[in-house]
């Protein structure tokens, strides 16, 4: 009996320390994500996309490294991913939203789940990107788009609303294919329709003033 409880003592003492280690990684991740966010905000002030991408590169590598460390911690404790999942969810969602925005700025298309995992150096078979976290991240990204459109128009880019509207319409349609439960994700998705509406309003504003007409068709082929 004594021997057994001696063992338990060690195990219980140890298990507390895993949480501590995760916590410290997550704190760093939060800081790195904040830096990425800071740089990304400059698109609202019309900094060229390439410069923004450049500025964020380094921190994204940092984040990738941090996910590596998380995976490593969890590797010692196989099948305990979901025991600690709540500890890094929120930061992961933020990271996904940032990556997806950057990706859209760069390519005009949606960052896929596998692409996101690749960018973060994750491996589904071992330490993957939870699907709900990915989807929530996309919703967060959607929330940034109306502001982006407004500021682009103010800065004279009248074609932006059309492009964003097309993208967001598609994304919204894709989400509607899911049967969501009444949870956080559903709530976030519900908010997306307001983003859609605001972008539509801006598109309307530029369209009735004849500001958007010229460039629209040729660009279409390149994008869609």
């Amino acid at each position: 009996m004594e021997k057994q409880f001696e063992d338990f003592r060690h195990q219980l003492d140890e298990s507390g320390s895993v949480r501590e280690r995760i916590r410290s990684v997550v704190m760093e991740m939060e800081a790195a994500a904040r830096l990425v966010h800071s740089s990304l905000l400059l698109v609202h002030q019309s900094l060229p996309v390439l410069e923004v991408l450049e500025k964020t590169k380094l921190q994204i590598e940092v984040i990738k490294g941090l996910f590596g460390r998380l995976a490593e911690i969890l590797r010692e404790r196989p099948d305990q991913y979901y025991r600690y999942h709540g500890d890094w969810r929120s930061e992961t969602q933020t990271v996904v939203s940032l990556l997806a925005f950057l990706h859209w700025l760069e390519t005009g298309s949606l960052l896929m789940h596998t692409e996101a995992e690749k960018k973060l150096g994750l491996d589904s078979s071992e330490f993957g990107l939870d699907i709900e976290d990915y989807l929530i991240g996309l919703c967060f990204m959607s929330n940034e788009l109306p502001r982006y459109v407004v500021n682009q128009v103010t800065a004279g880019d009248y074609d932006c609303p059309r492009k964003v509207l097309k993208f967001l319409t598609d994304l919204h349609a894709a989400f509607r294919m899911l049967n969501l439960r009444n949870d956080f994700l559903r709530k976030k998705f519900d908010g997306m329709k307001y983003d859609l509406r605001r972008v539509e309003e801006v598109y309307y504003d530029v369209k009735i003033r004849g500001l958007a007409s010229t460039e629209s068709t040729q660009d279409e082929t390149a994008q869609a």
Partner: protein
């Protein structure tokens, strides 16, 4: 001492008989409740899917989306509501209400949602109940949805209508949104009067608050589209705002 212990393990036989009776009663009741719960879960899940299906509506696919939704709804009725109908009778309607109320509310929500999208009117409780009559054998008292569950379902309907209205505006169907606005306002006003009379109105009270928020959201959306549409009236020299500008452009 030996005989003193014996009686302890031998239960009083009258008592045993009494409780055997109650055990049978409770077992039967629990079994029935469990079956009702399971049927209810199916009704809920599939009614939700019908609602999701309706939301896939857009300016150009209305017919197609709605007819699929109606088919789905019909199969909810035939496959799952019929199971509920078969389980329940007489006093069960009220005794087991907790077990099926959410399902029936969701079903009402789905059915009234479909009907509104199709005809712009409110599907009556009497009509729903009439359709349930067909599901049951003639000899048993058929399940009739009670007023409370119907009203709670209609309250939820307004949330879906709000989502629909916002979507319709994005899609350029402003008049449709205004029609929804009027419809939801009417429901809200009617329920204002009914709410305090309902049996256990805490639930409805919460729904009334959500409903008011939905009404305001629709009104704000209509307001936005109206002032935007009005902005160029003087310029266009027309008293009729040109809504054709509104809505998703034809990318196609």
């Amino acid at each position: 001492a030996g005989s003193a212990k014996k009686p302890k393990t031998m239960m009083d036989s009258a008592m045993k008989e009494e409780f055997a009776k109650h055990a049978d009663y409770l077992n039967a009741l629990n079994d029935k409740r469990e079956r009702v719960v399971k049927a209810s879960r199916d009704v809920t899940m599939n009614s939700k899917k019908v609602i999701f299906q309706v939301h896939r509506i857009s300016k150009h696919n209305k017919e197609e989306v709605l007819s699929k939704a109606e088919n789905d709804l019909a199969s909810v009725t035939d496959q799952y509501m019929s199971r509920l109908v078969k389980e329940l009778q007489g006093t069960d309607f009220w005794k087991l209400r907790r077990a099926y109320t959410f399902a029936v509310q969701e079903y009402v929500e789905a059915a009234t949602f479909c009907r509104f999208c199709k005809t712009g009117t409110l599907l009556n409780l009497a009509e729903i109940n009439a359709s349930l009559l067909a599901l049951s054998d003639k000899d048993v008292e058929p399940l009739q949805i009670n007023v409370l569950d119907y009203l709670l379902g209609v309250a939820d309907l307004t949330g879906e209508l709000m989502r629909l209205a916002i979507g319709r505006i994005s899609d350029g169907e402003v008049e449709y949104a205004e029609q929804i606005c009027k419809f939801v306002r009417d429901i809200y006003r009617e329920l204002t009067l009914l709410e305090p009379m309902m049996d256990d109105n805490i639930e409805m009270k919460k729904k009334m608050e959500t409903m008011l928020q939905s009404v305001v959201k629709i009104e704000n959306a209509c307001f936005g589209v109206h002032v935007r549409g009005s902005e160029y009236i003087p310029l266009l020299g027309s008293s009729d705002p040109d809504y054709s500008f509104l809505g998703v452009p034809d990318f196609e």
